[in-house]
């Protein structure tokens, strides 16, 4: 059985060249307790290529890379670097073997300068000055060679996320890495930063570096990689040339069944105006104006998508509507004004007015991770009479029963109401939140980043539910940094930049380029569209 898989994997790898693969993994297996994280994985990465590894959360991508970088020891299998069998017992050995890793969560010292971070761990001697000046020269060379410009004397905390990532890449290059592993590198980047990163990666490839890109975003794979390997449940299900595959095929390989990347939806049938926002302003604790006079309306049976780079006021908009941030201006629900600062400006009051809210950050807001699923299923609605036994006591048994039904309805797996929320995968956690908010049958649903950290199979389900709610004549306000999601779900798109609405577009009459410009704050896009 092992042999058959081996040959299958080999057949599928990129066309043989004279040079040995930069990295070859043979039959790597790794188990944690009873969980088989990697099962007999073989892969060949050719030098000077970008090799994508794609798979859902928990498919074993990160474990595999951790083995390659010496964090874990494989139970079986071997690693070959440039054709030579190599032992990688720790990350120092990985660095010596020419492997550099850029983690999803950067490992930088926040109050050190860029230069200090670069030389950390590779200082030449007890005195820093010689190392620093050497690093400064080297950094200048690298910056020119790969378009990796950062100010060497800036402290990390002053840098944007995109620049911090560049420092991580520079750190690896400074240690003479020929092989770069990037773990979900665009998760923290704005679209523009992501584009720039891809230009850098392309440059590195042309200079002969080998890059392994771990991601769960199909678009990135299609855009930049030469070869792509798909992982599912600890196994390598396929390795194909990127030019010979399609997003649909990759999605199917990832999930193990056909997946709709774009949920079909009919034309909207908008009714009465549900939400009216006029001149909404929010000033935060540091006296910075976060919303600078926002006007919006949403009608029943309509999805309004808010596009924008995160941090441009979308979160504040959701928080004000959800009832946990102060604001000035006017908000009307079904024609009636709601209290923005007084006694009825809290989240409970908003729920009573028919506003349900799937928050952007489900770990810190939408769920209590230590609470069981059933406790989370009434979170925010815990005062509703239907969940009480009497004036004091909650009807726990009844809630468990209702939760079991809702979990069934929303395909939450495993459907066990007593399991704590933290034991569910990201997609299933999001389904719990969605079930809670949608089952209340709200007039207006606020949805923030509905599919962040959610597996591709669950994305399809979540999108379907949002469209269903719209078709049932409800208003939906969708905030997402994923432009794809906004484009495919929205009936109208409003673009936010710097606390203002830059403009509204219809999804059929616009394109990503135009929206991208609006997201960057460039208002006059008539020529572009």
């Amino acid at each position: 059985m092992t042999g058959a898989q081996d040959s299958g994997a080999r057949q599928a790898t990129a066309a043989p060249t004279s040079a040995p693969p930069a990295i070859e993994l043979r039959g790597i297996s790794k188990a944690f307790g009873s969980v088989q994280a990697n099962k007999d994985i073989s892969i060949r990465v050719m030098p000077g290529t970008i090799h994508g590894i794609i798979g859902e959360n928990g498919a074993g991508k990160s474990t595999l890379m951790s083995i390659l970088y010496g964090f874990y020891k494989a139970d079986a299998g071997e690693i070959l670097i440039d054709g030579k069998p190599t032992q990688i017992p720790d990350s120092q050995a990985a660095i010596r073997a020419g492997i550099g890793m850029v983690f999803q969560h950067f490992k930088l010292v926040q109050n050190f300068t860029v230069l200090e971070n670069i030389i950390l761990g590779v200082e030449d001697g007890p005195l820093l000055r010689p190392s620093l000046s050497k690093a400064r020269k080297e950094l200048k060379r690298l910056a020119e060679e790969y378009e990796l410009h950062v100010d060497p004397d800036e402290t990390i905390e002053e840098l944007s996320v995109g620049h911090q990532q560049r420092v991580e890449i520079l750190k690896a290059l400074y240690r003479q890495a020929d092989i770069l592993i990037l773990d979900e590198p665009t998760g923290v980047l704005t679209p523009a930063e992501a584009d720039h990163l891809f230009r850098i990666l392309d440059n590195l490839r042309q200079q002969g570096k080998t890059i392994i890109l771990i991601t769960h975003k199909l678009r990135e794979i299609m855009e930049i990689t030469d070869t792509v390997s798909v992982m599912r449940r600890g196994e390598m299900t396929a390795t194909v040339k990127t030019s010979e595959t399609s997003p649909e095929q990759l999605a199917e390989l990832m999930v193990g069944r056909k997946v709709l990347l774009h949920v079909p939806k009919g034309p909207a049938n908008p009714g009465e105006t549900v939400l009216e926002i006029e001149n909404l302003r929010v000033v935060d604790e540091d006296k910075v104006e976060r919303l600078k006079g926002v006007d919006l309306t949403i009608r029943a049976g309509e999805i309004l998508g808010i596009a924008g780079v995160s941090g441009n006021g979308q979160s504040e908009l959701l928080e004000v509507l959800g009832g946990y941030a102060r604001a000035t201006g006017t908000i009307r629900i079904n024609g009636q004004e709601i209290d923005l600062t007084g006694k009825h400006s809290d989240a409970q009051s908003r729920r009573h007015r028919g506003i349900a809210h799937v928050p952007e950050d489900r770990h810190h807001y939408g769920l209590i991770l230590d609470f069981a699923a059933w406790e989370n299923m009434v979170f925010g609605y815990h005062n509703e009479p239907e969940y009480q036994k009497n004036a004091m006591i909650m009807d726990n048994d009844g809630i468990v029963e209702k939760t079991a039904a809702a979990m069934e309805h929303f395909d939450v797996r495993p459907p066990i109401p007593t399991l704590p929320a933290k034991s569910f995968s990201g997609g299933n956690q999001q389904k719990i939140v969605l079930a809670r908010e949608i089952e209340r049958n709200p007039d207006l649903l606020l949805v923030g980043q509905p599919t962040r950290g959610v597996d591709i199979g669950a994305i399809e389900f979540i999108h379907k539910r949002i469209v269903e709610l719209r078709d049932a004549g409800k208003a939906v306000l969708l905030v997402s940094v994923e432009l794809d999601e906004i484009m495919s779900l929205s009936d109208r798109i409003a673009v936010m930049f710097d606390g203002q609405i830059m403009g509204e577009r219809l999804p059929d009459e616009t394109n990503e380029r135009e929206l991208g410009l609006l997201m960057a704050g460039i208002r006059d896009t008539k020529g572009a569209a």
Binding site: F32, G33, S34, G322, G323, Y324, D346, A347, Q348, S349, R350, R351, H357, P359, H364, Y365, G366, L367, I368, L369, D370, F371, E375, F379, G380, H382, N383, Q388, M392, I393, M394, N396
Partner: protein, 363 residues
């Protein structure tokens, strides 16, 4: 990944922690040239070997249950109430005022009134730090510690200047009227068959058990408990759900202070029958250890309080009947707290590989 089965987490880990504390205590006793077996024998004999010993052990247990529950309730709202000591002393003031205000005809009338007095005074003493935390962000640990000192000074002042009957030498209130005396185990029909000598354990023990049950209901069955636990786990999520942090902090701390105050029923009304200086005698602090070891669950608090009652009584006996100094009782308690509280994770990590192997064999 590194998880233990629930039974191991709840039973095995504390048990091994206790064993480790006992082993180190034994080494210390050996080092000072004494016989640890003798110490164990005297402790067990003194605390559990007779109804007389039990009468003391359960008396201490009662106090520790109240202070342990007080810490537990506050903990679930993510408030670390270190002020149990002060709240218990002020609770004692409430008890004293109630008992002295009326010539109570019978304890069944005096007890409910004294309970209300104790709880109200204890809660009031917790209210100020709670308000400062909820509204001003002053850290509850700091303020409750300071309020312990203020309570102690206030009680001394009141005992010396206000409440001391004219001509009395020591700083204490007058003795409570006979109608306010609580029945001890020797006075309770049925129990008096076992407890034939006068012991300090009294009806408050049953109130403490009821309090355990009430706290369990509160935390895991009521809407209020749900909100307290939700806030305790995540403030941001609580705000998203429309739970008011100010309300939760205030209510949880009032209940916590009330429970600490109720301890005074046991020691002030049930035992001393007058208010003395430093009436809580450190039970407020032991409550922290009890809650920690009891995993902040009422059942655990009950069991941990029983253990500390045993250590307290057994330790006193050890000091009395062996040449091991009584200070060693503190060492023993300290080690138990160290192992069951601070080093809890160490013990757990030692057990993890064992269970991992077992899981592998089973698979």
């Amino acid at each position: 990944m590194d998880k233990l089965p629930a039974w191991a987490d709840i039973v095995l880990v504390p048990l091994i922690s206790l064993l480790l504390a006992a082993v180190i205590s034994a080494i210390v006793i050996l080092a000072i040239g004494q016989d640890p077996w003798e110490a164990v024998r005297v402790m067990v004999q003194g605390a559990l070997g007779s109804s007389y010993g039990w009468g003391y052990t359960l008396y201490y247990t009662t106090s520790f249950i109240f202070t342990g529950l007080a810490v537990t309730v506050a903990y679930h709202a993510s408030q670390f109430n270190i002020g149990g000591e002060g709240q218990a002393q002020i609770g004692g003031l409430g008890v004293a005022l109630v008992c002295l205000a009326v010539p109570w005809p019978h304890w069944t009338l005096a007890l409910p009134a004294a309970m209300v007095g104790a709880a109200l005074f204890g809660a009031a003493w917790a209210a100020i730090p709670a308000y400062l935390q909820a509204k001003r962000g002053s850290h509850i640990v700091i303020t409750t510690i300071m309020f312990n000192y203020i309570a102690s000074a206030l009680i001394v002042y009141l005992l010396v200047e206000v409440l001391r009957p004219a001509g009395q030498m020591d700083p204490a209130t007058a003795r409570f009227p006979a109608g306010a005396a609580l029945p001890t185990f020797k006075d309770i029909p049925g129990l008096n068959l076992i407890f034939d000598k006068k012991v300090p354990a009294n009806v408050t023990f049953f109130i403490a058990i009821a309090a355990c049950f009430a706290v369990w209901i509160l935390l895991w069955r009521t809407r209020l408990g749900y909100q307290i636990r939700a806030y305790g786990k995540s403030e941001r999520a609580a705000i998203y759900a429309g739970i008011s942090p100010v309300k939760v902090i205030m209510i949880a701390m009032l209940i916590s202070g009330g429970l600490a105050g109720m301890m005074a029923i046991n020691n002030v009304m049930g035992e001393a029958e007058r208010l003395l200086q430093n009436s809580a005698e450190g039970a407020g602090f032991i409550g922290i250890a009890v809650a920690l070891m009891g995993r902040n669950h009422p059942l655990g608090v009950f069991l941990a309080a029983l253990l500390f009652g045993f250590l307290y009584q057994g330790g006193a006996e050890m000091g009395l009947w062996t040449s091991i100094p009584i200070e060693l009782r503190l060492l023993l308690q300290g080690l138990v707290i160290l192992f069951t509280g601070a080093l809890d994770n160490m013990v757990r990590m030692m057990l993890v590989p064992f269970f991992r192997n077992r899981a592998k064999e089973a698979a």
